[in-house]
Symmetry: C2
Subunit: 110 residues, 2 copies
């Protein structure tokens, strides 16, 4: 890389890219799906279902937290994670703004 070029791109581009990157791994997709589908979203249950070590799952959860895709609350010794739907809605909106809307303006360039 020699040096990080992220500053050269604008904020919206970086936000979109960061979100996409966060869901850009099958393990994280799978984790999000597990959290979404159950009411009790305890970390241990996720570890049980995923084909990964506990420490690896914990690391993916950390990344999802950092990208604001989930929220986490401590419940005794356990940790409960939830989808942060607001971030998803924001992504949907920005994504459509960037791409789908442009589609109608430019149906076929080649």
């Amino acid at each position: 890389m020699a040096f990080n070029k992220k500053d050269e791109f604008n904020k919206k581009e970086n936000e979109l890219a960061d979100f996409a990157k966060a869901i850009g791994h099958p393990a994280r997709i799978s984790i999000l799906k597990e959290i979404a589908k159950r009411k009790e979203c305890i970390c241990g249950e996720i570890v049980e279902v995923l084909p990964l070590a506990q420490s690896t799952v914990s690391q993916h959860l950390k990344e999802l937290l950092h990208a604001d895709l989930i929220t986490g609350t401590v419940d005794g010794a356990k940790s409960c994670y939830c989808i942060n739907w607001k971030t998803f809605e924001k992504f949907e909106k920005t994504f459509n703004e960037f791409f789908i809307n442009t589609n109608s303006k430019n149906p076929s360039c080649c």
Copy 2:
């Protein structure tokens, strides 16, 4: 990594992740935007606008091609790239299937 665990996840999870990964970089977002907004989507024009070397842009274009987000046709010495809207629509659909639809079923887990 020691070894790639992608086989442990199902096809849909991997497809979603691959798409997300492909747009998970500000340079590629920016490239897609440039292609989408102009009618003549010549590689050289993209290189001019992006703050990256020609070889780097070419590499990003290759990744977008590989992820089926764009199509490329040779036009003499030049190359013309176009958004493959079908892939975008497919992503939108799968994304909603996975996440947004789940939202209504499970408004707030914590």
